[in-house]
Amino acid sequence: MSVSPQMRPQTEPSAPPAASPPVPAPTPRIAAASAAPGVAKGGRGASRLDAVMRGETVPSEIHAAVAREQFVLEVQDFNLWYGEKQALFDISFGIPAGMVTAIIGPSGCGKSTLLRCVNRMNDLIDIVRIHGDMLLNGDSIYHTRVDVIELRKRMGMVFQKPNPFPMSVFENVVYPLRIDGERSRKVLDEVCERSLRGAALWDEVKDRLHDSALGLSGGQQQRLCIARAIAGEPEVLLLDEPCSALDPIATGKVEDLIEQLRGEYSILIVTHNMQQASRISDYTAFMYLGQLLEYGPTPDIFTKPHLAETNAYVTGRFG
């Protein structure tokens, strides 16, 4: 496989190794945060972050509310190495069906890596090794017998930068069907319209379905990518910072779209933007240096997190 460097997730490889000796600047601020009043179970905060930085695996704080949900995707003791560097540590959690789940955390914490592990995009990188498993509706993702191509067809993925293909809008949307060899014009037309309506793009492009997709604006392109992702009726929709390359208005449209898709699709979204996470997600996972620190209903994470570190992060005191 010849994959040039930019194919790798951009944040993870630069993540500090698990046992990096010098302690980064945030430490004092975290210490301050842990001392802040009104923080539940704040006493162990400093030692927890220190432990993470030393490379020790700390147990994830998973709220009880999560356990009541039905999971579409379950991550089980998942570890990942880039060569010798470990990037994910023993991650275990479940993604509730029909809900929006956000993963937040500072740069380099492994959010995108984790997301790309779900549809095994990391297979494309030779030096990646993994341990552990994920289950998609009960089916293993990492079992040896799994056909990756078939697996990816069960999920849709949207990337940071809009990446429409160099073809018409129509062909972009029906691409997943084309590669399955679907030729019936009727089916293709139907799927195209349904997906574009689903992505709230139909009214804007219905008159230029056969023009090049590269002529659309950035926000339209990103919604087109979402339309393409949902054209194959995915079981789970993976959004990797879908709004980071968009202006505020386009961001708003995409967020509205995610609102609309809630319930119909199970969505896993990685975001840098905590306001966005709090606005659109039902559940939020907070990751730090490759470990899942806390996971719970979004209101709880943002207003009364169990961990002082989470509180410090969501209130902007570190990260």
């Binding site: 194919m7 995009m121 494309l124 040896t144 191509i149 990816r152 067809k153 993925m157 990446n163 293909f165």
Partner: protein
Amino acid sequence: MSAIADTARLKTAPARGWGRRAGRRGGGGSALVARGEPLVWLSGGALAVSLAMVAGLLALIVYRGFATFWPDRIVRLELRDGRAVMGEVSADEVHEPSPGVETRRRQVRTGNFELTNTHFQWVLDEEVAPGGVTLPEWALLVERVEWGRFYGVPQAFAVRSARPVSGEEEQLAETLRFFEEGMAKLDEADRAALTPFVDQELRPQLRAVQIRAYERLLANFGTTPEGARLDAVLASGRIVPITEVPPGEAIVEIHEVRTGAEAAWDRFAELHDGVREKAAERRRLEKHDIGALNRRLETARLAVRSAEIEIEQPLLAPAESALRLRREIATLQDRRAADRRVAESVRQRFGGESTAARAAARFAAEREAGAAGQIEKHRVELQRVQAVLDEASPGGPPVVQVFWDTAAAVAVQTAEIQEQIQAIRAETARYELRLATADGRLKALSLADVVRAFPANRLGWWDRLGVYFSRWAEFLTGEPREANSEGGILPAIWGTVVMTLIMSLAVVPFGVLAALYLREYAKPGPIVSAVRISVNNLAGVPSIVFGVFGLGFFCYIIGAYVDGGPDNAGIVPWPEREWFVTLGALAAIGAGAFLLGLLSLAKAGRGHSGWQRHRGRVSIVLWLVATVLFVALIAKTPFFDGFYAANLPNPTFGKGGLLWASLTLSLLTLPVVIVATEEAVSAVPNSMREGSYACGASKWQTIRRIVLPRALPGILTGMILAMARGAGEVAPLMLVGAVKLAPELPIDGEFPFFHGSRNFMHLGFHIYDLGFQSPNSEAARPMVFTTTLLLIFIVASLNLAAIWLRGRLRRRFGSAQF
């Protein structure tokens, strides 16, 4: 531009501190760097120089190329020594015969090669008599099929009418010949007895018949046409006016002559087109129809040869001798019949008991006895040959019969066509233009030999333009003549275009697949880097090396193999048993490689165990072994004797030809395509590939649907570069099939329409041939520029076509990102 504006602003800026600081920092030099932007001028100057050089070259080629066909004035120079020179001035320059002495000299294209043995002549100004430079009004420039140009002043135009030969005259002439031949063998006494008969009876009778015929001819002419004069050509070769023919003299021809330059030119202009059309018809018959008959005969002959190879018994040689013997017998029988006829006619004319009749009967009997012996000898030989053929199959194999039938039919048809050709020849030879050269010699030119003639000094601008375009039309659509220095170059244009297109067809798929593997499939590492460096270096190998390779590999190995199987290519085939054993091994190894390959592909992503990783490598090694075995099996097969064995030892594909030349050039241009494709493929953003994979596309689907369409304009750029390089290449072609004159086009209307084994003409090679190999290099030099112009035009058009295609593709993907 903006840089200049900036400079201006900086120069006028009064900023004191600026200047002081700059001065302190770096002195005057760095101030200049800071303010004057010398690099702008340097780089701009370099660009200007390059552009000027290219533009100068193009301008020279365009000017000289377009000027070649413009008709010049014809100058007549009277020299002090009494000679005169007439022709077009092709060069006019200052000459320094000795240091400090300068004079002007002119190069005059004088033509008339068969009279003067030179095409050009230098004339110094001192040699010219005072007032000796004139533009003769009626000086004619004649372009001819052979011998190059002719410059002369028309004197007369003659239409020749030969006296018709009656049956009686023919019979008498035959009898006379018969007696003359017979008498040579007689002894003195017998000859003396017969001489009076021949001289006093036979000859006068013949002459009387001839004069009667001439009188009839003269009566047919009636009155002399207006403005013309009738001349008679006597049997002695003397030409006299018709009124002065001595009585009793036999006349061979009557010439209707119009004298005077204008009358002659008018008559020429009136008749020339018709005669040229007939001459063209004759050439078509000679080339096309006779050629087709020859091919038919050759096909039948090759069928016999194939059968001979198959049954491993001589067939062709006996079949051909039988054919020859039968023809000889038929000829002898014809002659015998003719002798009898003559003897009979003598008996009737001079009475059965006359000396002549007895002598004739005796001659006939003698000749018949000789012929009978000959015929008998041929019959015996024929029986022997027939016995050889009967051995192969009773009554001779059917192919031999077909061959004989074809030969008979072809002989009949050839005779018919030859008769037509003779008739046309006789008709076109009747018209001749008589010209006086500068030194006063007379020369008669047959109209059929004149391609184009015009009185250059009488032409107005529009007439000259007409001549100009007529020359261009001939150049673009005609075939070459006069060692390529005259005529057209259609075969070369055709050869260049066809070769370039086949080369592109061959090189693009290979190059694109190779580049795709290098970029998309191969793991980056030392091996891939080495391959890439080697490919790049391949582009720097001198092209003649590719020519040598093409000759040694394509022509002498692959071509020879195609012609006559492994033996012919110098490969010793394996015995059958070994061959089958190897075939079995190949099947086993191939199956193993396939299975291992499947296994190594089946596992994905996770847990590369050592053995799994090795499976892939072992599979590749097995594939390589299988490929080598496959090639060896084909090369060393004992079952293949070639497709053109019947033609051997004449090679069909085992020599240079269009196909091998195209393949050689595609090897030469392969690096260009590979490098361009690699660039194009690697320029496709990875986000697109990821997007495709995320939709569940496989690697090949991603390449086919995303990478290739996106890279297509870049790939086409590679193709354009390859075409430009390949179309202009000459050195390798000299080894693998380009020739200075190809009798047949590589693509024509004859089955199978594309003839890859044929030699072809090529514009680049044509330029070389004109410039350095031409016997008349002075005359060929202007054609070098014209041909170069055309080559540049063709390469540019091919490229423009590809660029247009690329533009369309870009629009289809509707983005300015490419």
